[in-house]
Symmetry: C2
Subunit: 509 residues, 2 copies
């Protein structure tokens, strides 16, 4: 077995090998679900939502702000454009969405880490976007050093398929060139796939250019997934749409994702929120197909509810789970890959609250049929904070999704009838032949949690999960080795970045 290259589906073997391997990592393969999705909503409810979403698109319309080219595209496609509001006749958006692929491959520079997006697959990516980080010392503004540490931790996390994008906002470097440094980190510190910048169309272009260099020519292959948030309700701003236009033109993938705090950016009801989500995603996906038919896109849903006492967004709630399930059903009915779920929580600390809320979200994400799970580890405090300890905790829990998705084997060996015969009433299975043959792969095992006898645990300092995560993080970073990269490519990337930084010098930081 060649460590660092082999892919393996599900099970605990890959992780255990990864645990033992110093300096190299093994990533468990793409998750292909062998289990059914959970269909929370009835067909009747889904049909009502679909009908109402069409009504919203036609009657209420969607705003494409400061984007005359977009309005022109819509006009040519047959929409009724009044001012900046695009009224999409019933049926048109769905028809346009039909050219979007049901699944696609995102390539990584190590082809063993390519990921399949869509169908029965689940791809896991880390937290995205927080301005703060938290570690054992407390909460502070994130730096580029923090960013690089997260990329290294992601590289060393066997259950994580993807290096993500803005794992935290490196606030110590200029805004105008930050994306160049973030991309460099993802391209050089890991060989997992990653995301592009969306904060300016020109930064999307930089993302594509640098990716083209990394891959020695993209030749229309998809190597970037980028997060295009919709300005809910029903508004598509020119920055996000500009980035989408860049990516779609280059055949790079976009997540078209409403960003909704329920009760504020969408109705307080689950059915009303799903209606708006569907209308928004349909408009966004349809627009991507106007830019380039066949461009890869993902049906996104980031939905949280609001605490009506404090106004804070809340996470891991039943309403969020209901929307996660319902949006998954709507995405499947559209034949589109689905992005939702994640390590969501509102807690200020990686404590029990954080873990309950996160586990609720991860469980719903798995059974809702999510194909791309952004924020799958490291999320804290409503997404304001990327937490080092929680990154390690969540990344460990992701192993459960791998094992659950693999389903239950009911072949002859798994039936274990001979073992039951061998052991008989009152016996025990520890020594029996079937147990000896299968125990190593039988049970998923955390690479982090405490499973020790009470007395041992006491002697070792009575550590809680945070303390265990600190120790594990230190080991992961000590064991980290950068994956090899052709020096010529590394140099070409550095040249590009230097040239762009020179050009962007003087742009507001």
């Amino acid at each position: 077995m060649v460590e660092g290259t082999r892919r393996k589906r599900g099970g605990g073997g890959a992780a255990r090998r990864a645990e033992r391997t110093s300096g190299k990592i093994v990533t468990a393969g793409t998750i292909t679900r062998q289990i059914p999705d959970y269909e929370l909503l009835s067909a009747e409810a889904l049909e009502i939502i679909e009908r109402n979403a069409e009504t919203v698109l036609e009657e209420v319309g969607v705003a494409f702000v400061e984007n005359p080219a977009a309005l022109q595209r819509w006009r040519e496609a047959g929409a009724d454009v009044r001012g900046e509001i695009v009224h999409i006749p019933r049926g048109l958006a769905r028809k346009l969405c039909a050219t979007a692929p049901a699944n696609f491959t995102q390539i990584a520079r190590n082809s063993e880490r390519n990921v399949e997006i869509g169908g029965r697959n689940l791809v896991l990516a880390p937290i995205y976007g927080p301005p703060f980080v938290r570690d054992a010392g407390g909460r502070r503004y994130a730096t580029m050093e923090d960013f690089e540490i997260f990329v290294k931790l992601g590289h060393m996390s066997p259950w994580l398929h993807h290096s993500g994008g803005t794992v935290c906002e490196p606030t110590d470097i200029p805004v105008a060139t930050r994306h160049l440094d973030m991309l460099t980190a993802h391209m050089t510190l890991t060989d997992k796939p990653f995301m592009g910048s969306v904060t300016e169309p020109s930064r999307a272009r930089d993302s594509v250019e640098m990716t083209d260099i990394l891959f020695g020519g993209l030749r229309d292959r998809t190597a970037l997934i980028s997060l295009i948030n919709i300005n809910s309700p029903l508004t598509f701003d020119s920055i996000m749409m500009g980035a989408l236009e860049e990516y779609a033109t280059a055949n790079q993938a976009c997540i078209i994702s409403p960003f909704i705090v329920g009760g504020a950016m969408a109705p307080v009801s689950v059915t009303g929120t799903l209606t708006q989500v569907l209308a928004e995603v349909m408009a966004g996906v349809a627009y991507s197909q106007l830019v380039r038919p066949g461009a890869p896109v993902i049906f996104g849903a980031f939905v949280t509810s609001i605490d009506m006492n404090s106004g804070a967004p809340t996470f891991g709630t039943p309403e969020a789970a209901q929307i996660t399930y319902g949006a998954g059903q709507l995405a499947r009915r559209m034949g589109l890959p689905y992005r939702s779920g994640g390590s969501f929580c509102g807690s200020k600390l990686p404590d029990a609250q954080a873990a309950y809320e996160t586990a609720n979200s991860l469980n719903a994400g798995l059974l809702a049929g999510v194909n791309f799970m952004l924020h799958a580890c490291g999320w804290l405090e409503g997404g304001l904070v990327a937490d080092f300890e929680k990154f390690v905790m969540d990344a460990d829990q992701l192993g459960i999704l791998h094992k659950m998705a693999a389903g239950v084997d009911h072949g002859t060996e798994a039936q274990a009838l001979d073992a039951i015969r061998e052991v008989g009433p009152g016996g025990h299975y520890l020594g029996c032949e079937h147990t000896q043959a299968h125990f190593k792969a039988a049970f998923w095992r955390s690479g982090l949690f405490d499973y020790k006898p009470f007395e041992t645990w006491l002697e070792e300092g009575a550590r809680d999960t945070r303390a265990l995560a600190q120790a594990k993080m230190a080991k992961m970073l000590a064991d980290y080795e950068a994956p090899p990269l052709d020096p010529a490519i590394r140099e070409a990337l550095a040249d590009y970045v230097a040239r762009r930084k020179a050009g962007l010098d003087g742009v507001a930081a």
Copy 2:
């Protein structure tokens, strides 16, 4: 509205009212699922398991140890009894199980707290069995005072339907009379339903006698649910069966529950374990019906896996979830109420590990179609410890199960089409009419977690979930008031206990 008596299904209203109510409690009503069950295993897999379970019953058989009367009952029913091993011909156990009711009512002394067991209902009961307790001060042996505190906390927990049984083992009072004090606590400190003693047939008899006093004559009504563990693999000991015989004869309910650490008491494979679980439950339920056809029983499955490194049982694992789902499917196919799920975890502390593991178990229990969830709050350290902080945390999380089970409303008002029209692109929903009409009941809200702004949270001491739980526990106990009880009944119970204690004086403690 009459506080302390009103029943309300799901939603957050009941809990919020309970939060505000000093000295009285409001219990949310029985959970009746409006959502589908998650069907993890295929029909093919289930049929294989059912066929194999019959093979096990016929070929391997089950042991009824030191129980000649049981062997005689089996012989008369047509089983092939060899020594203490009962070989049950294919089809016989299932035929005998057919007289067990698909659902039944467990009455409480406050009839508003009666619970329906079976069908689409989910009833939540607290932890059962631990010799230790843990609070902010650490871990120690449990006392009767701890026991009473847990009963009071259970009474004050709005999402908890049931007072449970041995919420902890009061190790400071004699074993021989402990059950009398525990029953007294459940009967006097709360008016929620409770469980009977199973550690001796005579104690089961005491449980029935005291319950008869409490209810002024049981008259065949079911007022006790008791936990009959099977000594897996495939062994039914005379103490547990003696208790079952007492309860079944008196038409009181029993949970027939294999107690399995996978890899030790059952095969390491999920399918093999489910086969053994089904065989054991079928034998136990069939036996209950031999004692009294129509006696109420519950299909139980307590299954954990083993950590092959330390030998410790592990919780919140994917294998445990798979078995929880699979056993639920098997129970439904038998038409029996199902007991599984719970606040299971292996952690030594109520930390993130505990919460991840617990949330994994609670989520699986909800979607697996569990009807009676024992251990739904307070479980720590593999069940060795009843934890006060975690009891409060878990009991709060149970509100999520209530809300999830209520399903998604897709009526006209919930569709919120007019709200979407009213707000339009770029607006916000906070002030709109639909939001104002519905925001109070729209989102489930934790009665424990931190939802405050970061700065407020800091000023208030940067409390973690444990600290919040300590504060909440203090408030619950300060607000506690015992529900009224007829003084004559109270006296009759005390008399019974005094007489029994006198009679049991000198019995080994």
